[in-house]
């Protein structure tokens, strides 16, 4: 009887959607999209903020709607750096130079927000890594 009960509980646990690795619901998808959107929204706030660097210049001054950033082309050979570079390195280039600020770590939440916003504005454009 006890063994039967354990088997029942175990079965219930295994069947529970929360514990099955390959199961998710529409509500999960909405929640995950919401997480992304909130980070991209934070990225938009930083993009239009003069507070990222030291001189009040905002990314959006040269890149309205993150245009002319070409995220789909990274990693690519960046002729000015003389090597294959990632998108975050170019974001840092802009933070250091036109914004006269300090570079962010690749996994800094602010960098994640920047990159999320850039990709969101580029939605629908096919990946084309390496394209100049």
């Amino acid at each position: 009887m006890r063994r039967y009960a354990i088997a029942l509980v175990l079965g219930a646990v295994l069947l529970s959607p929360a514990t099955l690795a390959d199961e998710f619901t529409a509500a999960d998808v909405d929640r995950w999209q919401g997480e992304f959107d909130s980070v991209a929204k934070k990225g938009r706030e930083l993009w239009t903020s003069g507070a990222v660097g030291t001189n009040g210049v905002a990314c959006a001054q040269c890149h309205p709607n993150a245009a002319n950033t070409h995220p789909e082309t990274y990693p690519k050979f960046q002729k000015q750096l003389g090597k294959v570079a990632q998108l975050f390195e170019m974001v840092n280039w802009c933070i250091r130079n036109p914004l006269q600020g300090t570079a962010l770590a690749a996994d800094d939440p602010k960098m994640t927000a920047f990159v999320a916003y850039i990709y969101k504005e580029r939605k629908g454009v096919p990946i084309d890594a390496g394209k100049h």
């Binding site: 239009t48 001189n55 009040g56 959006a60 309205p64 245009a67 002319n68 036109p98």
Partner: protein
């Protein structure tokens, strides 16, 4: 002293400014008929002088305007006058207008200014007016009638009733891609003035109109747009020879709509992407336009510059002085009846850097 300036000294001045560049200063003098004279003027625009704090300003934008002024002053023969196409300041502050105004004060020759939205939305142009006069006006020069419009006004509701503070109103309009902004327009009052002004001018007189925003509709999301463009165009169409020169877009654009030729001018501050490269936008960059080269951000002044405008028999030829890049020349072709790039108009001769995506 100015009479002694030669092409070599212009190049030397460019080198002093930090870059070795040849500055094309040829001035084409075509034959003209009747009583009209051919002449040239210089056009500097969109300097966006931006205060950091106190006496500290963004160096990058300062350098653009300083360089344009220095080079424009070295042109020989001297241009007849200088136009400044608007957005002298970034946030319309007195300190910014004064700092930029001080640089413009070094220009040789008569200066005419156009109002930009960055000059306007803090105090609705009050301080700018003290420096440069009325927001819209006209003048005549060597047989050509010139009109300056303030094309960046918008609805009364947005201007007077939406924002609790003037500083916020300025910031909301300063963001090019800010959905809280509002479409530009010339407005009913100014259109009535324009009609009156043009009624006094013979339809055979060449007409050149200066505005900050394009008097044509390219992309509303970035205000590459004037909401009453068609109504303004209707007032200009009866003239045989009409050109509109506008700033705001920070890029080479040109177009022909009926009798009206359009030329955009470069910014001295920074370049903007062509709006059709924004993946989420529907934009209408004129098909006639051969774009400027894609900007190289590692060259601070690339894809910025200033213009020499030659006026031959009332038609405009824009000579784009592009720092760290080749000069571009876009002029009206009488045979084709539209402006064309003198070198790159045919698809077969265009260069890879002119392809934007």
């Amino acid at each position: 002293m100015s009479r002694l300036i030669t092409r070599r000294s212009v190049i030397a001045a460019g080198a002093t400014a930090g870059t070795l560049t040849t500055l094309p200063i040829s001035m084409v003098r075509l034959a003209f008929g009747g009583t009209r004279e051919d002449f040239s003027f210089t056009y500097i625009s969109d300097s966006h002088i931006q205060q950091i704090k106190g006496a500290s300003f963004v160096r990058n934008w300062d350098m653009g305007l300083k360089r344009a002024v220095a080079e424009a002053n070295l042109i020989l023969p001297e241009a007849d006058f200088v136009m400044f196409g608007g957005d002298l300041a970034q946030l319309g502050k007195k300190d910014e207008l004064d700092h930029g105004g001080e640089m413009l004060s070094h220009l040789k020759g008569k200066l005419h200014c156009v109002m930009g939205e960055h000059d306007y939305y803090l105090d609705l142009g009050e301080y700018w007016t003290k420096l440069y006069g009325p927001h819209w006006y006209s003048f005549d020069h060597k047989g050509v009638h010139f009109v300056v419009l303030n094309s960046i006004i918008t609805t009364d509701e947005w201007t007077f009733h939406r924002w609790p503070r003037a500083e916020q109103r300025m910031l909301e309009m300063a963001g090019l891609d800010n959905p809280n902004g509002s479409p530009f327009m010339v407005g009913e009052k100014q259109r009535a003035w324009l009609k009156d002004d043009l009624d006094k001018v013979s339809k055979d007189t060449p007409l050149i109109v200066f505005s900050h925003s394009p008097l044509q509709k390219i992309y509303k999301g970035w205000n590459f747009w004037t909401d009453d463009a068609e109504q303004v165009q209707a007032l200009l169409q009866p003239f045989k020879t009409v050109s509109v020169i506008y700033g705001h877009v920070h890029q080479i654009q040109y177009n022909q709509i009926g009798n009206i030729s359009f030329n955009a001018v470069m910014a001295t501050a920074w370049p903007w992407p062509y709006p059709d490269t924004y993946a989420q936008a529907g934009a209408h960059v004129p098909v006639l336009t051969v774009p400027m080269n894609r900007a190289d951000p590692f060259f601070e002044r690339d894809a910025t510059g200033w213009q020499m405008i030659d006026v031959n028999s009332g038609r405009v030829t824009a000579r784009y002085q592009l720092w760290d890049n080749q000069e571009r020349v876009v002029g009206y072709d009488p045979k084709l009846g539209k402006p064309v790039d003198k070198r790159y108009q045919e698809a077969i001769v265009r260069k890879a850097p002119q392809l934007h995506y």
